[in-house]
Each structure stands twice: as structure tokens, then as C-alpha cells.
């Protein structure tokens, strides 16, 4: 029923605005209104998502934790063993090595780039002005057979192989419901460097008054992607800080000589 309601609201809003030119801010404000309202979104301290990835017939259960203070991790369960990936305590980014099953730190550049995302919790568009981000409506585009608004989001520049680069993402908001259905950004590193990465969002469902996309498909633009299905989203989960801590193995000398 609630879903129906929101769709109807979105339809009405869409109709009202149809004759007027949309601005990026109008689209974003309708978006936030449609998914639950800015106050509610701002009040959330963290999310815990249980998901499944189906890869080549292999079903991999995941647990993704993201907190407002920037702490985050993904826990993969393989054969009853938990492998933590992309764990970030606000300072150190680390993952479990698949071979040794021990924690290893990510390189400094990757960590520094992630630190820039600490203020992006829940949605980078949330309070984007205070964060100094730029938002620009580029126009209408059809994607997935659906009419969308294409919005460009420019965040803090990131550093790639020692050189500063712009951090730009293009979001496609459904003109009917005003929610993003696709996001694209240039892949900056790794074997697909230079190509466009793409995430498709769907199955928006309500969790405690807020709508989240429960289905994501990620991959390279123009190629079949990898689907992730969320089974459950828990808001404001209680997570022990120790979970994010990098388990030090090497003794760090307190006072380095010379």
C-alpha cells in the first residue's frame, strides 16, 4: 500500500512539474521527499545490509555495514568462514587476504580516496552543498527504455597513481518516480581503467519509512553486470567498534630511531 502511495505521489508530482523546467535541486528534493524525507535520512546512524551475490552458479552471502561516521565493512561468508573486505575504521582500510586469511592494509592512495567518502553516508547527494559538491542537470536521457534526468555529481578530487583527478558520477533519475535507477562513473584504476562503470538500481522497498533499492546490478557499461540482491536492511545497527579495527601483527616501534 505504501509503495502504491509513493508511486502515486511521484506521479502527481511528475505531472505537476511536467510543464516546468526541472532544476537539479528540484529533482533532488523530490527524490528525498519520495524516499522518506531529509530529516529521516539525516537521522540514520548506520545500515546493515544482508545480501546475496549469484556468481557463476555460486551463491555468496554478504553482509555490508556502513556507518554515518564513515566506518564500513563487507563480510563475505565462504564455507562457514567470514572474510572481511573493505573494512575501514575511519583511518585504516584493510581486507582479509584470501590466501593467508589474515588482514592486510590497503595502499595509502586507496585509503586516502576512501577517507574522502566518509561524508557520503547513505547518499552522496544528502546535504551536498555543505560538503562542497557540485550538482548539474545535464538533460534528459533514455536508459533501460526509461526516460530519466541525467545529473552530474562532482565530489572532492581523488588521487590516482600520484595524480589528482576529478571525481564525477552521473546519476539517472527516473522522471516518473524521481529515484536514481542508474549511476555511472569512470573506472580509475585496475584492468578496466578508463572504461565506464555502471550500477543499476531497482526494487525500491521501504524500511522503517525510508525507501532503499534492494536490487543492484554492477558492471561495465554496455555489458551484462553482476546482480546483488538485498534480503534485509537493518537501520542503526549496533556494531562493536572493535570489528573495524585492523588486527595488528607487526609491532610498531613507538619512537623510530633517527
Amino acid at each position: 500500500m505504501k509503495i502504491l502511495k509513493i508511486v502515486v505521489i511521484a506521479l502527481v508530482i511528475g505531472f505537476v512539474h511536467k510543464t516546468n523546467a526541472q532544476t537539479a535541486d528540484e529533482i533532488l528534493s523530490t527524490y528525498f521527499e519520495n524516499i522518506g524525507g531529509i530529516e529521516k535520512l539525516n537521522a540514520i546512524e548506520g545500515v546493515k545490509m544482508s545480501a546475496k551475490v549469484n556468481q557463476q552458479g555460486m551463491e555468496i552471502p554478504l553482509e555490508i555495514i556502513q556507518l554515518k561516521n564513515g566506518k564500513q565493512m563487507t563480510v563475505i561468508n565462504f564455507q562457514g568462514k567470514e572474510l572481511k573486505q573493505g573494512v575501514f575504521d575511519g583511518e585504516t582500510l584493510w581486507s582479509t587476504n584470501f590466501m593467508t586469511q589474515k588482514a592486510e592494509k590497503s595502499d595509502k592512495e586507496t585509503t586516502d580516496n576512501l577517507k574522502l567518502e566518509m561524508n557520503d553516508f547513505l547518499d552522496p547527494f544528502l546535504n551536498y552543498k555543505e560538503k562542497g559538491y557540485q550538482v548539474e542537470l545535464l538533460g534528459n536521457e533514455t536508459i533501460d527504455g526509461t526516460e530519466t534526468f541525467k545529473i552530474k555529481l562532482t565530489r572532492e578530487p581523488i588521487t590516482i597513481d600520484g595524480k589528482e583527478e576529478q571525481n564525477i558520477t552521473f546519476y539517472y533519475f527516473d522522471t516518473e518516480n524521481f529515484v536514481p535507477i542508474v549511476a555511472q562513473n569512470e573506472i580509475k584504476t585496475g584492468p578496466y581503467k578508463g572504461q565506464m562503470g555502471e550500477a543499476k538500481m531497482s526494487d525500491y522497498q521501504e524500511v522503517d519509512g525510508i525507501y532503499f533499492p534492494f536490487s543492484l546490478t554492477q558492471g561495465i557499461k554496455g555489458q551484462p553486470g553482476q546482480g546483488i540482491t538485498l534480503d534485509k536492511i537493518e537501520l542503526n545497527p549496533q556494531i562493536d567498534d572493535a570489528q573495524f579495527k585492523f588486527p595488528e601483527e607487526i609491532e610498531t616501534t613507538e619512537t623510530p630511531k633517527n
Binding site: 549469484n54 551463491e59 527504455g145 581503467k193 578508463g194 543499476k200 531497482s202 536490487s215 555489458q223
Partner: protein, 1005 residues
């Protein structure tokens, strides 16, 4: 909502009736292609023609390549690899220009290649990006056809200069030098000569942006000749930002001039170089000025400097040394003494069009050739090809019926090739086989023998290659006593009969037929062309530089098409506008192109597609771009050509090269134009451009594979592009569109067993073509994208038991979801390390399955069939034994997992030390309890052995061997022993309050 849409339909119908009472029902494919995606397979090993290279002025990692037919590619690793950034727009590129004041963001692209060979494509204007190439805006110049240079004032980014070379085959006043003072919003033509003379080159003084040099070139092509040079070709200079211009010819040769290149030395802008095409051979070549153009001195007229000016006139000066200059050419030439003497650049593909120096290091040079981009680390002596630019320019393609099928085709200046539509690990450079030299065009596989026909330009050689025995001969029809000289097109037509495998056709001005694979020939037609003598004087072609390569041969046959329904019906199209048909195997011929409404006389017949549904039906594609007529022309006849009806609508952009009719649904047609692929579902009443991973590239030839329903396109700039299995398009009807979900039918899916090693050596920097998916495809049509609410997709057996869940597609239109025939991987006992075999998911048995799509409260079901791969050669009984054995191991793996879970839980509670030890000892025989996942691994235990055998069988095509079965019974024994031992320990432990998950909960958690 429903009311509204039906109202809409009604008003549309009414509207169409009002406009044209005869217009048929419209069934548009707009927004319906969904996840039907194009797949690029290259090849990239010979790459393709490059028109312009451009370096970022401050970041040496960034290089742009403007290609002749494959768009703009950007490298961000100093030319090691490139990615396309201009796919949605015209792919023929003349120039790339970077704003030096904002080089990360502002890029200009001028479309339309400028090295004006016979086969060039056309541009459609100037584009600009303000975000490094992610998004583009068109700035006009719609009729410019080719743009030679774009220069942004380094001191004022609002000031932009564009050199428009303009139309190649017609008069045009959109030529010359243009200037914008508002960063491209508005433009002024600041240098114009006449409608025949365009701007071939433009340079700016690096120290003074108000000083400009522009070369103007008088030139014209017709389909049968080329003219370079005239009284209006000249070199101009402006010292006031283009307001006034003066010729600077002091020291130039007398008489008419041709194409001139111009370059200014960055390190000393008084030093200029120009390359001059002149009347006298002795006075052609390189000229230098040391006083900013006041006076010129001839330095060199070597072959490498004067060769084919229309194709090579780029001259580049080392930004750090005014005496190091490089000239494009057949091999490319470099001088280190200010232009007095030259040596060739290092070995690379011939035909060098552009060269750029690295911004910091002159040892690092990049060259753009007819065969891709090359890079040098030693000043141009050793050249190394960029291996990931799939820019191959196909003229024609054909397919065979092998599994996987092969694609055959010929390329501009890059020979002829064939390669597979799929290959282990992807389609790599080494999967392609050379099957012809020179320029390649049509390549045809003998329908039953392992023989391939190929050709080079003008049928100079038509090869018949016996693949099996590696034997080669040429078979082109030769002139015979009493017959006229044979006139072959540059791209001479050949065809194989659909009825007689050894029958082979070739076209000169006559149609030649051979019944013995080209050993003997009979002429079965009169001269089918207009035989207009004024179009046959190719030895006079070229203008100031004679150029009789054969590329301008005219009044020739261009297309031969035998009806797939009747071998006596043969269609022949000529380059001078005749479309001849015989219905009696060549005894009589009728020219059916005499009066087609809206079609200018003598328009090139580019392709004829006889219908596979009706004998009298055919489609004819005409195109007149080489006379300056860029309109699309495609007609349909249903009466052997007596009458023709246009099937072109306003939706089509670009002239047409090819059409493909579907074998099943006669209303489903595919149209290849200069700017991409168009599809109609309603016989041509409405067309929709296909853009899913499909660039706006010139589609020269299309074929539809009968077995796989793959649409295969030979593009002129992006290699072979395939849309796998277009069969869903056949089923889109207004009825299907009115359903909440429409499932598409499919043939039984084969669970492929075939597969080998991929050995992906070198693919880090090489282009690798993607393979088609071998999974089962659940295909359905959604009338609207699913965005809100839950939507899920399950595979079930016929009893409704869930086999697996998949991520459903949500797009409006066609959705294709892959299922690779497997159930979930087994739950594996928890150990210290992973049991890698346990990651294998086993396949289901062959049979019928259900896809169950749940969308909100609605459930939709679709049954489909999967079958075993015949190549494995197993009997039904053997397949059953294989399946049962794998499932036995699967179950044992899960039983063991539960046993270990129970054991761990027991261990936690047990207090008795001895019992604890016994349990631990037992556990150590069940799973690995030490070591890591790499070389620190411990001795494998029961879990590892079970999963090893399980995955060995599950990944094999074969039935279990006796060796494997013996091993299984050994493991079973060990398993049973472990189980009874554990039962004994459990009794001893007497843990009555032990809380355990049930087996099912444990497995499904």
C-alpha cells in the same frame, strides 16, 4: 492509465490514417531493446586507420586518437591502452582539439576524416565536451563533412579556430577557416575561397596567437576520378587573428598548387615548414622558411615527402628542436638536419597520417597509421603497435555454419581474415587467420568443402585457398578473345550459389559464372552497366599527382545476389545505377532501376537482398554519397522489380549501405547506415536506432546466422559487432506488449561441455573480444521498467521445487537473464582453510524447467528445456550415472558439513578431556585444521578429498571412470567409519540439551 494508452493508440492510428491512408500499422521498437546488447569481437591485431593524434599539453599520460571510422579513443596510460569516448556520435573523425587552458575538461572533436581516399566516410559537424569526454554537445557545422584542425588560443579559451576542409564529392560553401570568440557558441567564416576549395591545414604561432597560417586546397572526387589541385590552392597568413589574410608564396613553385601541409616550430616560431604538391615533380616537396613565411626555400623532394599528398601531408616539428621534423607518408620520414635529408621511420604499418611527440621527451613518438597507433621509445626507430584498438574497417563479411561459426571479411588496406565467433577465454588476436593480402573485400567460405575464396582490390587477385592442404591459387576471370577489357570494381563482387556448392560468380561489367570453383568461367550476361566511356578514364585521375590505384574504376558490377529460393533468379547491381535481374539463369536480363520514385539517376546500387520468403520480393539499397548525395535510399519490390516502394522513414540518419531480412519474420529488417544500425519490426513503417553497446559506426555489411540467429555486422571502423540471438525481436507484437510480462520462446539450451585452455598471455594490453554466453537465457518483455517493489526470479523443476534464484532484469523491453544450469554450490564443512572443489556448483539433469518470475503479487511462469551436449557422446544411462554420482558426492559433502558442525558444537560442551581428544582427533581426519590457502596448505583430509572428486566429476564432460568410482567407494567407507565413530562419541558425551539447527536450516542458512 490503460484508458489513456488506448486513447493514445487510437489517436495515433487516426493520425496515420489522416496522413496516409495506405500507411500500415506501426509497431515501433523504440525503447524496447532492453538488455539485447551488441558484442564487439574486433579484430584489433591489424587495427585500423587513424586520422589525427593529440596529446594533452600538461599530462603525458593522456593521448587522444581520432580515428577514420572508429570514433575518438583516449589513453590515460601514455598510449599503452585506449578506451572509446565518442561512441554515440559520428565515428569518422577529422581532428581532436584540446583547450590548453583547461585540458582536463575541454575537448573539441571535428568529425569527418581528412585524408581523402576513395573509401572515406563523412562527418556531421563539430562537437565539444566540457568534462573530459564524458558528455558531448554539438556545435553545428552540420554540412562541413570534414574538419581538418581545431585550435584554441592558449591565452584566451573563448577564441577557437576551426579549419573546415568540407565536402569531398560536391560543391559546398561550408569550407575554410572559422573563428569563434565565445568558446564555440557562434562562428564566423574568416577565410573562404570558393565552393571547391577547403582548409586543409591550420597552424598558430605558439608565441603569438594572432598569427595564423592556413593552407587552402582545391580538390574534388567523383566515383570515377579524383582531382587534386588548382589555381585556388594557396598558403595564407594572418597576423591579426584571422581578420585579414595574405598569400605567402615567395619562393613557391609556379603554376597550380595541390594539397599543402604547414607546421610552425614551437621552439622558434620563425621557422616554418610546408609540404607542397605542385605541377612539376621537381618542385614538389618540403619547403622551409626562416622568417615566418616571408621567404621559402625548397629542401627536399624525396618520394617519402611527395607521395600521395591527398593521403599524407602532415608535417610535425619536434617541440624542442626546430631541426627535427617528421613527415607522414607511405612509411613516414624523419629529418634531423632541418629537412635537408630524411630517413624512414621504423617498421610499422604503412600509410602514416599523423605523428605526435611526447610533451617532455622527444624519444617518445606516437604515429597514426592505416593500421592503428604505434609508439616509439627511441625517437621513431623502433615502433610498437597499440594492441587494444579494434578499429578494423570491414567492407564485407560472410559466415559459415561451423560451431562456433566463423566470420570472414576483408579490410581497408589490411587484407582478408577469418576468425571464430567464440573462443576459450575470449576472441584474441591469435584467433584470427590471414586469408588475403592488399585491401581485402569479400571473403566466402565454400559451403561444403574446406575452401575459402578471397580477393584483393580490383580483383587483381581472387584467391582460392584449400585450407586443409594449405594450397593457394588465383582464379579471377581473365580477358577472353573477342571480349571487351574487363572492368572490375575496387571492391569486386563475388558470390556462391545457394544451390550448387561449386558454383561461383564474379562480376566485372559482365556476370561471370563458374561451375568448378573458378577454374573455368562463362560470361552469362551482356555488359550490365551503362558503359559510360566518360567514366572510364582512370589513368587521368589524381590531378597534380597522378593516382591511378584502381580505386576509381567505375561502370562496374558491385553486387550479385542469387535468390535463396530459386537459382535462376539472380540480381545484379552496378555502381552506375543499374539493377538488373534475370529469372532464367542469365538468358535474359531486365534493368529494374529505370524509374524508381525519388531516386536520382545513376545512383550506386550498393546491396540487393532477395527475400527468403517470396521469390518476387527483394530489397535494394542505393547510395549516392560519392556524388554528394547523402540521402538514405532503400526500396522493396514484391514483383521482381517491376515496382519499388521506399521503406525509408525520417527516423533514419545517414546513407544506407546494407539491409538484412529476417528468415522468420518478414517484417523484421535490419538496416546498416553510415551512422549505425536501425531495426524495424513492421516492415519499414518505423525504424529505431539500436544503441545498446552499438556505436554510431558505419555498418557496411550485415549477415544473420541461420542456426544461432546472431546478427553479425561488418563495420567500417569498429570491426565485427554481433548481436547474439535476435529471435526475441521476432516475437514483439502489440499483443506481447500489452501483457504484464511476455516470455520469449527459446530453442532447447545445450549445457555445453566443450571448452579448453585459454592461455591469456599478453591480454593485459590486448583487445579481447567477448564470447557469447553459453547459459540458458530466460528472456522476457516488460512493458515498463521495474523500479519499485520486489521482483524475483526462480528456476524450479516441474514439481515446483526451487533450484536456484537469479537476478532478474528490470529494463523496459527485452530482458535476458542467464542461468548457467547449476544449483547452489554445496554447503562445505568449516575448516581452517577453503576446500576449493567445494566452490563448484553442479549442473541439473537435462529436462524441462520453469522460470518463475514474481513481480509484486503477480507470478509468471515460463517452461523451457535444457539438454546435454552431444559432443560428450554419453548415452542417457551414462549421463544419469554421472549425474547421480556427482549428486552423491554433493550430498556427502553437505552431510560431512553437518557432521563437522555437530562435532564442533559437541566439542564446545564436552568436558571429558579424553573424549575431547578423541573428537579432536576425529575432526582432524575430516577437515584441514592448519595451514593456509596457498603453499602453506596442510595435508588434505576427507573434506578435501570428497570435494576434489566431486569437482573433478562435475567439471568433466565424461561419465565417472572405474578409477574415480573406486576412489569414491574408498571415500564412502572412510565417511561411514567417521560417521559411526562420531555416533559412538556422541553417545558417550550424553549432551541432551545440545541446541542444534536442523540439517535443512543448516544447509540453507
Amino acid at each position: 492509465m490503460k484508458k489513456m494508452s488506448s486513447l493514445l493508440v487510437w489517436s495515433m492510428i487516426l493520425l496515420s490514417i489522416a496522413v496516409d491512408a495506405q500507411t500500415d500499422h506501426i509497431l515501433s521498437a523504440k525503447n524496447l531493446f532492453g538488455s539485447l546488447n551488441a558484442r564487439h569481437i574486433g579484430p584489433a591485431l591489424m587495427s585500423g586507420r587513424i586520422n589525427d593524434l593529440e596529446v594533452h599539453p600538461t599530462n603525458k599520460r593522456i593521448i587522444y586518437a581520432g580515428t577514420a571510422g572508429g570514433g575518438v579513443w583516449k589513453s590515460n596510460d601514455a598510449g599503452t591502452t585506449f578506451n572509446p569516448i565518442f561512441d554515440e556520435y559520428c565515428q569518422s573523425i577529422g581532428a581532436v582539439g584540446i583547450d590548453p587552458t583547461n585540458p582536463d575538461n575541454v575537448i573539441y572533436v571535428g568529425t569527418g576524416e581528412t585524408w581523402t581516399r576513395n573509401s572515406v566516410s563523412v562527418g556531421d559537424g563539430l562537437y565539444k565536451s566540457v568534462d573530459g569526454g564524458s558528455n558531448w554537445t554539438k556545435l553545428g557545422f552540420d554540412k562541413s563533412e570534414r574538419i581538418a584542425n581545431i585550435i584554441v588560443n592558449p591565452k584566451n579559451a573563448n577564441e577557437v579556430y576551426v579549419a573546415v576542409l568540407g565536402a569531398l564529392w560536391s560543391d559546398s560553401d561550408e569550407r575554410g577557416i572559422y573563428k569563434s570568440i565565445d568558446a564555440g557558441k557562434t562562428w564566423n567564416q574568416i577565410l573562404y575561397v570558393n565552393e571547391k576549395t577547403g582548409a586543409a591545414d591550420l597552424a598558430m604561432d605558439p608565441n603569438d596567437p594572432s598569427i595564423l597560417y592556413a593552407s587552402m586546397w582545391e580538390f574534388r572526387r567523383t566515383p570515377w576520378s579524383f582531382e587534386s589541385g588548382g589555381a585556388n590552392s594557396a598558403l595564407y597568413k594572418s597576423t591579426d587573428g584571422g581578420a585579414t589574410w595574405n598569400k605567402i608564396h615567395n619562393g613557391f613553385p609556379e603554376g597550380n598548387l595541390g594539397r599543402l601541409g604547414i607546421a610552425v616550430a614551437k621552439s622558434d616560431s620563425n621557422i616554418l615548414y610546408t609540404v607542397i604538391e605542385a605541377e612539376e615533380d621537381e618542385r614538389k616537396g618540403l619547403y622551409r622558411s626562416d622568417d615566418a613565411g616571408e621567404n621559402w626555400k625548397q629542401l627536399n623532394n624525396d618520394f617519402g615527402i611527395t607521395v600521395r599528398p591527398f593521403y599524407f601531408s602532415r608535417i610535425v616539428v619536434d617541440p624542442r628542436d626546430p631541426n627535427v621534423i617528421v613527415k607522414g607518408g607511405l612509411n613516414g620520414s624523419i629529418s634531423r638536419d632541418g629537412g635537408k635529408t630524411f630517413k624512414s621511420l621504423g617498421n610499422m604499418h604503412s600509410d602514416i597520417h599523423d605523428i605526435v611527440f611526447d610533451i617532455h621527451d622527444s624519444d617518445r613518438i606516437y604515429a597514426g597509421t592505416d593500421g592503428g597507433v604505434y609508439r616509439s621509445m627511441n625517437g621513431g626507430t623502433t615502433m610498437e603497435i597499440v594492441e587494444n584498438l579494434p578499429l578494423s574497417q570491414f567492407y564485407h563479411i560472410s559466415l559459415d555454419d561451423a560451431e562456433p561459426y566463423n566470420i570472414y571479411g576483408g579490410l581497408q588496406d589490411n587484407g582478408s581474415w577469418y576468425g571464430p565467433s567464440s573462443s576459450s577465454g575470449g576472441i584474441e588476436a591469435r584467433d584470427w587467420n590471414s586469408i588475403g593480402a592488399g585491401d581485402g573485400f569479400r571473403v566466402l567460405k565454400h559451403p561444403t568443402k574446406n575452401i575459402i575464396y578471397s580477393e584483393m582490390q580490383g580483383a587483381e587477385n581472387v584467391w582460392r585457398y584449400d585450407v586443409e592442404n594449405n594450397l593457394l591459387k588465383t582464379i579471377q576471370p581473365l580477358p577472353q578473345k573477342g571480349n571487351a577489357k574487363l572492368r572490375y570494381n575496387w571492391n569486386a563482387p563475388m558470390a556462391i550459389s545457394n544451390f550448387q556448392p561449386d558454383r561461383f560468380y564474379m562480376g566485372s561489367q559482365f556476370l561471370h559464372k563458374s561451375e568448378d570453383m573458378g577454374d573455368t568461367w562463362t560470361i552469362i550476361s551482356p555488359d550490365l552497366t551503362t558503359n559510360d566511356k566518360t567514366k572510364q578514364e582512370q589513368e587521368n585521375s589524381g590531378g597534380l599527382s597522378k593516382d591511378n590505384s584502381g580505386a576509381e574504376n567505375h561502370t562496374t558490377i558491385f553486387t550479385i545476389a542469387e535468390s535463396p529460393l530459386d537459382q535462376n533468379i539472380i540480381w545484379v547491381g552496378t555502381d552506375d545505377g543499374n539493377m538488373q535481374v534475370t529469372v532464367d539463369g542469365g538468358r535474359t536480363w531486365t534493368n529494374t532501376a529505370t524509374a524508381i520514385e525519388g531516386l536520382p539517376k545513376n545512383t550506386w546500387v550498393y546491396h540487393i537482398e532477395p527475400s527468403s520468403h517470396e521469390k518476387g520480393t527483394a530489397y535494394a539499397v542505393f547510395e549516392g554519397h560519392s556524388t554528394g548525395d547523402m540521402n538514405p535510399y532503400t526500396y522493396k519490390t514484391t514483383d521482381f522489380g517491376k515496382t519499388w516502394k521506399s521503406i525509408i522513414t525520417d527516423e533514419i540518419v545517414g546513407f544506407v549501405r546494407n539491409i538484412q531480412e529476417d528468415y522468420v519474420n518478414p517484417n523484421l529488417l535490419f538496416l546498416g547506415t553510415e551512422f549505425g544500425l536501425y531495426i524495424t519490426l513492421d516492415g519499414g513503417n518505423s525504424w529505431t536506432k539500436f544503441t545498446n553497446n552499438m556505436p554510431s559506426v558505419a555498418v557496411h555489411f550485415i549477415d544473420l546466422h541461420k542456426k544461432t540467429n546472431d546478427l553479425v555486422m561488418g563495420t567500417h571502423g569498429r570491426g565485427i559487432i554481433i548481436i547474439d540471438d535476435i529471435s526475441p525481436l521476432r516475437e514483439i507484437t502489440s499483443e506481447a506488449l500489452s501483457k504484464k510480462v511476455h516470455f520469449f520462446n527459446s530453442k532447447p539450451f545445450v549445457m555445453k561441455d566443450q571448452g579448453g585452455f585459454s592461455g591469456s598471455f599478453g591480454t593485459e594490453t590486448q583487445f579481447v573480444g567477448s564470447n557469447p554466453s553459453t547459459a540458458a537465457h530466460i528472456k522476457y518483455l516488460l512493458p515498463k521498467r521495474h523500479t519499485f517493489g520486489k521482483m524475483s526470479l526462480e528456476i524450479q523443476d516441474m514439481e515446483g521445487k526451487k533450484i536456484t534464484t537469479l537476478s532478474p532484469g528490470k529494463s523496459k523491453g527485452i530482458n535476458i537473464v542467464d542461468w548457467n544450469y547449476t544449483i547452489k554450490q554445496p554447503k562445505v564443512a568449516k575448516g581452517k582453510t577453503f576446500s576449493f572443489g567445494g566452490f563448484t556448483a553442479p549442473r541439473v539433469k537435462e529436462g524441462t524447467y520453469k522460470a518463475v518470475l514474481t513481480k509484486g503479487k503477480d507470478t509468471f511462469e515460463h517452461e523451457f528445456e535444457v539438454v546435454y551436449d552431444k559432443h560428450a557422446n554419453l548415452t542417457a544411462e551414462e549421463s544419469e550415472i554421472k549425474y547421480q554420482t556427482i549428486m552423491k558426492l554433493y550430498d556427502m559433502t553437505q552431510d560431512l558439513a553437518y557432521m563437522v558442525y555437530e562435532l564442533d558444537a559437541t566439542l564446545e560442551k564436552v568436558t571429558n578431556k579424553k573424549l575431547k581428544n578423541s573428537l579432536n582427533e576425529l575432526k582432524e581426519t575430516l577437515v584441514i585444521t592448519t595451514g593456509d590457502n596457498y603453499v602453506g596448505s596442510a595435508e588434505p583430509q576427507l573434506r578435501e578429498k570428497l570435494s576434489e572428486l566431486y569437482s573433478k566429476l562435475a567439471s568433466s564432460y565424461d561419465k565417472p571412470s572405474s578409477n574415480e568410482l573406486d576412489f569414491l567407494s574408498m571415500l564412502e567407507e572412510r565417511f561411514n567409519n567417521a560417521q559411526s565413530m562420531f555416533t559412538k562419541y556422541k553417545k558417550k558425551a550424553k549432551l541432551k540439551d545440545l541446541q542444534l539447527k536442523s540439517f535443512n536450516d543448516f544447509i540453507n542458512e
